[in-house]
C-alpha cells in the first residue's frame, strides 16, 4: 500500500476510534495499532472482512459488540453526510440570535416530536415580536427554553450518554447512533421509573444476572496465598515434608471472603411509586442470592418484610399490604428510630445496610440524627437513590443524609450494577 493510502486509512481509522470512544468503548493506542495491522491483512473490498478485522482488535467485551456494529454501519455508510441532527439547534433563536444550548440540550431537542419542536419555535417567535422586548431578554428566554428542554428530557426515555469529540460530523453521528441504540443498551440506561410492564421480563433477567455475578464474588473458599498475611504454620510444615523437613517456602493464609450480612430497607412511599416494580424485583433477586438478608419496608412507618417478599408470586400482594400498614408519606427518621428500638436484634457490626429511597422525607433533622446513630451500629450504609445526582443539592434532606452514608445515584440498571459492585465487592 502506498504511503498516501496508508495515511488516509490511518486517519479514517482514528476518526472511527473517536466515535467508538464517544460511545463509551475503551480503545487504547495499542489496540489502534493492532487494528491498523489487521486491516493490512484483510481484503478491503470485502466489507465483512474489514468489519471483523476491526471488531476483533478494537472491541474487548461482549457488551461493546452491539455498539460497535451500530457505529460501524453508521460511520462507513454515511462518512460524508452531515446528519440532520446537527441542524436542529439553528431553529432555536430569539430575535435572530441563536440560543446558547449545550450539546446535551441540542440532543434533547433533536429527539422531540415535530409538535414539541413547533411549540418551542412558536414560543420563541412570539417572544421575539413581543411589545417592549429587547435583545437583553435573551438570557431569560434561554433559561425558559432550557427549563422546558430539561422537563422533556426527564420525561422521555434515556439514551446512551455520549462523549462529544468537538468534530461536528462525528458528533452528529454520535447523536444518531445513540438514538438507535441496541435494545439491551437502551434498557440498561433507561430510567427505571419508566419501565413498562412489557419490560419487566427483560429487567428481571438483567437484575438476576447482576445479583448472581455479585454472589460469585463471594464464593471463594479459604485459600492459601503467597502474599504476606497470616502465617499458615500447618501448611508450611506439611509442605516441608517433601524437603526432609526444611521449610523452603512459608505458606500464608488469606482471610476468607464471606458474603456480607445484608439488611435491605425499601422505601415504598408514594414518591417511590414509579420505582416499585424495580424495588420488587431487586428484593426478590437479592433475597435469592444473599439468603441471610433481612428485608424491611418503610414509608411513614417501618415494617419487617414477611416471607411473602421472598416469593415472586406473593410479592406484589405482600407489598400492597405493607403499603397499607406503612402509609404513603415518607418519614425516614421515624422509620430508622423504629428499626433501632424494636428491631435492634437485627443490627450488628457485620451488617451492611442497603437503603433504597429517594430521601424525600419529612423531619429531615430527625432522619439525619437517626442515620448517624445507625451508622455507628452497622458495618456500612449504602443509600441507593433513584433521584438524579444533579438534583441532590435541591433537597435539604438528601444533603443532610449524605453525610452519614454512601449515597449512589441509582435510576438506571447500569447505575445499579456499578453501585452494587462498588458497595459489596
Amino acid at each position: 500500500m502506498e504511503q498516501g493510502q496508508q495515511e488516509g486509512l490511518l486517519e479514517n481509522l482514528l476518526r472511527f476510534v473517536l466515535v467508538l470512544r464517544g460511545l463509551g468503548l475503551k480503545v487504547s493506542a495499542a489496540e489502534v495499532a493492532d487494528a491498523l495491522e489487521a486491516l493490512l491483512l484483510v481484503n478491503f473490498a470485502d466489507r465483512s472482512e474489514v468489519y471483523q478485522a476491526l471488531r476483533y482488535t478494537l472491541v474487548k467485551e461482549q457488551r461493546g459488540e452491539k455498539l460497535f456494529k451500530q457505529a460501524f454501519e453508521d460511520y462507513f455508510a454515511a462518512l460524508g453526510e452531515v446528519s440532520e441532527q446537527g441542524k436542529g439547534s439553528a431553529e432555536l433563536s430569539f430575535q435572530d440570535q441563536p440560543l446558547n444550548l449545550t450539546r446535551e440540550e441540542q440532543a434533547v431537542y433533536s429527539r422531540l416530536t415535530r409538535e414539541q419542536r413547533q411549540g418551542l419555535q412558536e414560543f420563541l417567535a412570539r417572544s421575539s415580536e413581543g411589545k417592549n422586548v429587547s435583545p437583553r431578554f435573551l438570557p431569560v428566554i434561554e433559561g425558559l427554553v432550557k427549563g422546558q428542554l430539561d422537563y422533556y428530557r426527564r420525561h422521555m426515555g434515556e439514551v446512551l450518554p455520549v462523549e462529544f469529540t468537538g468534530d461536528e460530523k462525528l458528533d452528529s453521528m454520535l447523536l444518531n447512533i445513540s438514538q438507535q441504540l441496541p435494545e439491551y443498551e437502551e434498557l440498561l440506561s433507561r430510567d427505571m421509573g419508566l419501565f413498562s410492564q412489557d419490560d419487566l421480563t427483560r429487567v428481571k433477567r438483567v437484575i438476576n444476572k447482576l445479583t448472581r455475578k455479585l454472589s460469585h464474588g463471594f464464593n471463594r473458599r479459604k485459600r492459601q496465598s503467597n502474599r504476606a498475611g497470616m502465617l499458615d504454620l500447618r501448611n508450611s510444615i506439611r509442605h516441608s515434608i517433601q524437603h526432609g523437613g526444611t521449610i523452603f517456602k512459608i505458606k500464608y493464609r488469606q482471610k476468607r471472603q464471606r458474603k456480607p450480612d445484608l439488611m435491605l430497607l425499601c422505601d415504598i412511599s408514594g414518591s417511590m411509586e414509579r420505582y416499585s416494580s424495580f424495588v420488587l424485583q431487586f428484593c426478590y433477586c437479592l433475597n435469592r442470592v444473599f439468603q441471610k438478608m433481612d428485608t424491611f419496608v418503610f414509608a411513614e412507618k417501618l415494617a419487617l418484610g414477611g416471607p411473602g417478599l421472598k416469593n415472586s408470586e406473593t410479592m406484589e400482594k405482600e407489598l400492597q399490604l405493607a403499603k397499607q400498614e406503612c402509609g404513603r408519606g415518607t418519614n425516614v427518621g421515624r422509620s430508622l428510630q423504629e428499626l433501632q428500638q424494636n428491631f435492634h436484634r437485627f443490627l450488628g457490626k457485620n451488617k451492611v445496610i442497603v437503603v433504597v429511597s429517594d430521601a424525600k422525607t419529612m423531619e429531615s433533622q430527625l432522619a439525619a440524627a437517626e442515620l448517624k446513630k445507625l451508622a455507628g451500629k452497622a458495618k456500612d450504609i449504602i443509600w441507593l437513590n433513584p433521584l438524579a445526582k444533579s438534583e441532590w443539592e435541591r433537597y435539604n434532606a438528601v444533603k443532610m443524609l449524605r453525610k452519614y452514608c454512601r449515597m449512589e445515584e441509582c435510576s438506571t440498571l447500569a447505575q445499579l450494577d456499578s453501585a452494587m459492585r462498588k458497595a459489596l465487592i
Partner: protein, 296 residues
C-alpha cells in the same frame, strides 16, 4: 507456512471443527498478529476444543494450563527441584566435595518447568491453552501480562528467558468474573455464542457418527427452542451431542414426547430448568416444533 483465510477455514473444517467465518477470522488475526486469542462464552460452546483443533492442524504439542483459584507462579511457570538440590548437596558432602557451586544448584538441570515455561522453551511452536482464566485472581492475571505481551519471563537466578518460538496462545473464560482491561488489551477477543440451527446440525452430523439427517435436524431445532426459555443454565453444544448420542443409542428415528421426557435431563441439569421446561414448553410441544418444516 503461509496462512491464508481460505486455508485456515478448510483446515478447521477438515479437523472436524464446524464454525462460522467470524471465528475463522479471529483465529486468523491471532495467528498473523501473533497475539493471544481470548475466547469467552458459555460453557460447552467449543472454546477449549478450538485450542485442541489448532494443535492438530499445526501438528504441534498442546500445552495446557488449567486455571483454578489459588494458582500461582510456582504451579504455572516454574519451580526449583528442591529434592534434587538437596540430594546433590548431600552427595557432594558424602564424597567430600565442596558441596557444589551455588550457580550449579540453580541451573536449568534443577529447574522444573511448568506449562508456561514449557511453552516458551518448546523447540517447535506449541499451542498454549490457558483454560478458564477467569477462575484465577487478579494477581495471577497481572503476572500473565509479561508472558502474553513479550513472550518472555524473568527468573531471578537465570535472568530473562525469551521464547524460542512465539507460541499460539488461547485463553478461555466462562465470564464468571470480569477480566482486567490489561489482559483484554493484549488479546484478540472472541465471544462464542450458541450456534444457529444449521451450524448445530452440521456439528451433530460431524461428531455423532451414524446419526440420520432428520434426527440431527430435529435435535438441533429442539435445543435451539429450549435455549430461548428463561433458564439458569442453557444446554451447551457438548450436552446437545450427549443427547444426540443417547437418542441414537436408544434407536430413535425422530423425537417423540416419551423419549424427550426420559432424556431431557441430559440437556437440563438444574431442577428449576426442568420445571421451567415442563411448565412453559413440555415434550409434546417441543416435538411438534422440531418436526415443523424449515430451520426456524
Amino acid at each position: 507456512m503461509q496462512i491464508t483465510l481460505p486455508w485456515l477455514k478448510e483446515a478447521l473444517k477438515g479437523a472436524g471443527y464446524i464454525c462460522g467465518d467470524d471465528i475463522v477470522m479471529a483465529v486468523y488475526l491471532a495467528l498473523q498478529l501473533e497475539k493471544p486469542l481470548l475466547v469467552t462464552g458459555a460453557p460447552g460452546v467449543g472454546k477449549t476444543e478450538l485450542a485442541k483443533v489448532l494443535s492438530a492442524i499445526f501438528q504441534t504439542e498442546l500445552i495446557r494450563l488449567q486455571c483454578y483459584e489459588g494458582l500461582d507462579e510456582n504451579k504455572a511457570l516454574y519451580e526449583w527441584n528442591y529434592q534434587k538440590q538437596l540430594l546433590a548437596i548431600q552427595l557432594a558432602k558424602e564424597h567430600g566435595l565442596a558441596g557444589g557451586k551455588e550457580q550449579d544448584l540453580f541451573s536449568e538441570d534443577y529447574l522444573l518447568p511448568r506449562p508456561l515455561l514449557k511453552a516458551l522453551l518448546a523447540p517447535k511452536k506449541p499451542v498454549l491453552l490457558i483454560d478458564e482464566v477467569d477462575k484465577t485472581d487478579e494477581e495471577f492475571e497481572a503476572f500473565l501480562f509479561e508472558v502474553l505481551s513479550d513472550f518472555q519471563v524473568s527468573i531471578p537466578e537465570l535472568g530473562t528467558l525469551q521464547a524460542k518460538q512465539v507460541p499460539i496462545v488461547v485463553l478461555t473464560s466462562n465470564g464468571e468474573r470480569e477480566l482486567s482491561d490489561g489482559l483484554k488489551r493484549r488479546c484478540i477477543f472472541l465471544y462464542m455464542d450458541y450456534p444457529e440451527v444449521e451450524k448445530e446440525v452440521a456439528i451433530i452430523r460431524a461428531k455423532v457418527s451414524g446419526i440420520e439427517a432428520r434426527l440431527a435436524l430435529e435435535i438441533a431445532k429442539a435445543v435451539n427452542r429450549i435455549r430461548s426459555l428463561e433458564l439458569e443454565k442453557k444446554p451447551s453444544i457438548a450436552e446437545t451431542l450427549d443427547w444426540a448420542k443417547a437418542l441414537l443409542l436408544l434407536g430413535a428415528g425422530g423425537l417423540t414426547p416419551e423419549l424427550v421426557d426420559k432424556t431431557c435431563n441430559l440437556l437440563l441439569k438444574e431442577k428449576a430448568d426442568l420445571d421451567t421446561f415442563l411448565t412453559q414448553l413440555g415434550p409434546e410441544e417441543l416435538c411438534s416444533l422440531a418436526r415443523e418444516r424449515g430451520l426456524a
